[in-house]
Subunit: 350 residues, 2 copies
């Protein structure tokens, strides 16, 4: 009894893994916050991709998103800590329907870390910011004594701007909506696991890390404003975490079909080998969209015309049955619930 | 030769300590940034307390500041990681002449950290945000495996708003300005050192950690807009780092008088004992102001009428002689240069 109490009093890796325990930790953190939003904006309680700051007598609003980046190893197939930090931040702003304009960075470095290596990370960060055409407007650098931090981590805040009328939110799903995924799932987390020390897997699998800018640009204002009801990048917790979050916040049932979900053979193989569920695994360059069914095919076609979205598919739809649940129609014809992951034990995935 | 090259290729603690080496590291980090500001705003290159985001056809602008918080121990006399994170962020916004409206937080926790302890830090953070009347609008939480991070660190971004016409910047000092400090120097860093394990000093010295809100409120728009040319909170690098920064950016000489600088006896004693220079030691609830000489006494009186500013003093003035230098008139009558600290070796001070 006492040891059970003791173990429930400690933070576990799963508390940071995008699943049920993460949700529990976040609720614990925000429960006694006095002011959770600015006027009628989106705030911390909505747990969306970012927050909004409506401005008086102004038709646009500021969108803010913040993230810690603790990925390990800091260089992985398809990216590094620097590029991941920018892509993750920019994508979060895009998922709110905002145009990214700026980023800030906090860099925390272990004493003894090599300047050469830092230069590579910084260069990668700066280059990605340039690619996204955003300004790096502020930063802070701290050094921690040798042994008190493993190598280097970052924290970024993204600043975007959007028309007040655009509302692309987790609670925006409508009955009948089609669910689109912009490409194969789980590449990032699986590639990272495969590259980790001790896992001797030979594969050309790379992280899907990338900007969703091209998709954002091709969709344009009209479509975003009228036909896209929700957008989210399935990072920690994978599509299982993402879809369960949507189902709960929008009070709808989400039905997806296993055979429609794009997934690479290597991802399936590595996940099988490691006993991981690819639906729980992070992507870093993918988006899920919930869209008006009448425009789903048009939107899909537009997304498929981009480089990053060429593997897009419609994978399911939104129903009134089984609200707050996610159901999977399996290839063999059965149906099962996809649960919010408890929090898989892959540390430092992003 | 090779060992010298080797040692110059590593990040040292002093690179994070607010002195010359920190400056070197920051210049290294920002040198290849493509876009360093938004339109005619303040950006990363100005290395001020924060950045500004001017909005088209709007008379106000957004002010953004970001900071990593790695203080150790996480509970210290006068504060903790949570209260320090909010105060530091709010004060940076105030130092830009902005009204703080919101904060975001990234919390990075070591696996195995106690929930009870986390609750104390979070509660302290939330309480301070409430005191400052700011919203906590977004956050992120990561957990790192046991041994890869010592306990817990935070990163915050502050969001403020200000009239476009208010320009309180590091390069704003004018010849003839009076320099005001709002209270005794070095309390935070010295109290932290005294409380660190191994230092067995019995003292009632506390960190000066606190909001500069009361001072901001009593000064008001007219004074801030017309008579305050620069404001800065001397955290890392202390007043030596702060004043040298101003002298360089404003191309002026700053003359200060040793006997005017408020400093507690315990601070002097502990610094003597540890071989530290109190001018290099961080405060967390003090501001330096460079103000119009005609209004210096009025401003001083207003500041002294507040609780946090009751120990304020005019400590010097701005001259055209010795540009980019800081000179100290000592109590015994001599004059010496106060250099930018190289970066003292007090890790995790803030």
């Amino acid at each position: 009894m006492s040891s059970q109490k003791e173990s429930s009093n400690i933070i576990r890796l799963a508390h940071g893994a995008g699943g049920f325990l993460q949700e529990e930790l976040i609720n614990f953190i925000i429960k006694d916050i006095a002011i959770k939003k600015i006027s009628n904006g989106i705030g911390v309680e909505e747990l969306d991709d970012g927050a909004t700051i409506p401005l008086k007598d102004y038709n646009q609003e500021i969108v803010i998103t913040t993230d810690g980046h603790t990925v390990y190893p800091i260089f992985f197939p398809g990216g590094d800590l620097g590029s991941l930090s920018v892509c993750g931040t920019v994508n979060d702003l895009l998922m709110m329907g905002a145009e990214p304009i700026a980023i800030t960075s906090v860099i925390i470095i272990e004493e003894g870390f090599k300047f050469d290596t830092l230069e590579k990370i910084i260069h990668s960060f700066n280059l990605k910011a340039k690619e996204a055409n955003i300004a790096i407007i502020a930063g802070d650098t701290k050094v921690m004594p040798n042994g008190s931090l493993n190598e280097i981590i970052m924290a970024t805040t993204g600043i975007g701007i959007k028309d007040k009328q655009i509302k692309i939110l987790d609670n925006g799903l409508k009955i009948g909506d089609k669910i689109i995924i912009t490409g194969s799932i789980g590449d990032h987390g699986t590639a990272l696991m495969a590259s980790r020390e001790g896992l001797n897997i030979s594969t050309d699998l790379k992280s899907d890390l990338g900007f969703l800018l091209e998709i954002n640009n091709i969709l344009g204002f009209e479509i975003k404003n009228n036909y896209i009801h929700a957008m989210k990048d399935p990072t920690r917790g994978g599509i299982a975490g993402n879809l369960n979050d949507w189902a709960k916040k929008s009070n709808v049932g989400i039905y997806i079909e296993e055979e429609k979900i794009p997934i690479k053979k290597q991802v399936t193989a590595i996940c099988d080998m490691l006993g991981l569920d690819p639906y729980n695994i992070a992507s870093e360059g993918r988006a899920l969209l919930s869209v008006d069914p009448q425009f789903a095919e048009v939107i899909l076609k537009k997304i498929k015309s981009t480089q990053i979205g060429k593997g897009a598919e419609i994978i399911g739809e939104v129903k009134s049955e089984n609200p707050k649940q996610v159901l999977l129609k399996t290839i063999v014809g059965g149906t099962r619930f996809i649960d919010m992951p408890l929090g898989e034990l892959i540390p430092r995935i992003c």
